[in-house]
């Protein structure tokens, strides 16, 4: 039967796995701060989650890209950009962009909230399912930053003063913040609590 370090009256280091007696404050091997369980972890998860959600709203309302050519000036939002690609006949690329910049960010908010709730209501998911969902959220979260990089590259490339220019829109800032905040939310999670009874 598997027992946890906590059940054995010991504290495991979250960074390196070294096991300590409960009165030790810093890991003797890697120097990280030790805690059997982070008592405020779940609160910090919700705080970062909420902050991420709040800045995600302007990220969708305001333009991500401002395109200026000789004849016209267009502003495109995140969803607008995907729709535009779709209308130009690039369905495959439009689908990838839609998944990366809409489905994944929204899915991440739902997944983190679901994980946080299932720690309180144990019947929502099995421990193994929670463990896998957490691994997915942790892995995929940083990839949303791709949208910000695309805007940066386009704006630095398309710079033909009078003829055509692309400028970044203010939504890029709130989108980047939203990605950073949700990454913080995932990192505030103490995955060991998934397995506690």
């Amino acid at each position: 039967m598997t027992i946890s370090a906590r059940q054995a009256g010991l504290v495991g280091c979250l960074r390196c796995g070294r096991v300590h007696l409960p009165d030790v404050a810093l890991c003797t091997r890697c120097g990280a701060a030790l805690s059997s369980r982070d008592p405020n972890g779940l609160q910090r998860v919700w705080a970062w989650w909420l902050a991420g959600l709040l800045v995600y709203i302007p990220a969708n309302l305001y333009p991500m890209l401002l395109t200026r050519t000789l004849t016209q000036r267009t502003e495109s939002t995140i969803i607008g950009g995907a729709v535009e690609l779709f209308q130009h006949g690039d369905a495959g690329i439009a689908l990838i962009v839609f998944v990366a910049s809409v489905v994944i960010p929204v899915g991440k908010f739902i997944a983190i909230a679901f994980l946080a709730m299932s720690l309180e209501k144990r019947h929502l998911m099995t421990e193994h399912a929670q463990h896998r969902l957490f691994a997915v959220v942790e892995f995929i979260g940083r990839w949303s930053m791709i949208d910000v990089f695309v805007v940066a590259i386009l704006a630095s490339l398309v710079r033909f003063d009078a003829v055509a220019t692309i400028n970044p829109g203010i939504a890029a800032v709130s989108f980047a913040l939203s990605v950073a905040f949700t990454m913080q939310a995932a990192q505030s999670f103490d995955p060991r609590t998934i397995w506690d009874d």
């Binding site: 027992i3 946890s4 280091c13 300590h20 990089f149 386009l154 704006a155 890029a172």
Partner: protein, 228 residues
């Protein structure tokens, strides 16, 4: 080699603390098994890899990290992309991409992008080189090696060079119909950097490195050995 489940049924108090490991993902307590290079031991409960040592790992990681750092230098200072459309030309470097947000209120985002794609990846490589150089040479680790390697581990999620490369690919598709883009040497350096980093991470076993650091600490073996 099939993964081995680490031993998890034993009397915890009969085993010295230094031989126990708590899985960082689920807190399951294990007795650390003796594992040969190319073998790995996984957590009995959640399946996370606990230890997966590789032969010559430190020499390989060191060489790959040094290569990455050189490639990063090339990627920053060489021409990156060249865009041409109906007789007009524009050249952009990696730093130009980061500085794309340098108007008005978006300046902090420029700083953040530069950090995510260049500064943090480069810093992380330097920290790994600092930690491993003495281990490769068979000497005691330098002072603050523990802090250096811990910081390198913390920075991992924020090191986004590989995400930037995929971002470049998406941007190229977006302008493909409107203009001709010629990738410069910095573009290829960045692609090579990503491949080298993936290879480097495959050799990186944190347990193996922490054991080596603890075993090569200058005149301070007491902390590891003297536990009850």
């Amino acid at each position: 080699m099939p993964p081995r489940a680490a031993e998890s049924s034993f009397t915890a108090h009969a085993v010295p603390l230094a031989e126990l490991r708590a899985c960082p993902h689920c807190d399951a307590l294990h007795r650390l098994p003796q594992v040969q290079p190319r073998e790995r031991a996984v957590c009995d409960r959640c399946g996370s890899v606990l230890i997966a040592p590789r032969a010559d790992a430190f020499t390989r990681i060191f060489a790959l990290a040094a290569t990455s750092l050189i490639l990063m230098g090339a990627a920053v200072f060489m021409p990156f992309l060249d865009l041409s459309a109906s007789g007009l030309h524009n050249r952009a470097s990696v730093l130009d991409a980061a500085l794309a947000f340098s108007q008005g209120a978006m300046v902090p985002l420029s700083v953040a992008v530069a950090a995510l794609i260049v500064v943090i990846p480069a810093l992380r490589l330097m920290l790994i080189l600092y930690t491993l150089a003495p281990l490769v040479a068979g000497r005691p680790v330098l002072s603050r090696a523990r802090q250096a390697f811990r910081l390198a581990d913390r920075l991992k999620p924020w090191s986004m060079a590989e995400i930037f490369v995929i971002g470049v690919a998406v941007a190229l598709v977006k302008v493909a119909g409107l203009a001709m883009v010629t990738p410069g040497p910095a573009f290829w350096a960045f692609c090579a950097l990503v491949l080298v980093t993936v290879l480097q991470d495959s050799f990186m076993d944190k347990e193996q490195i922490w054991q080596a650091i603890a075993g090569a600490e200058p005149a301070n073996d007491a902390a590891e050995g003297a536990q009850p």
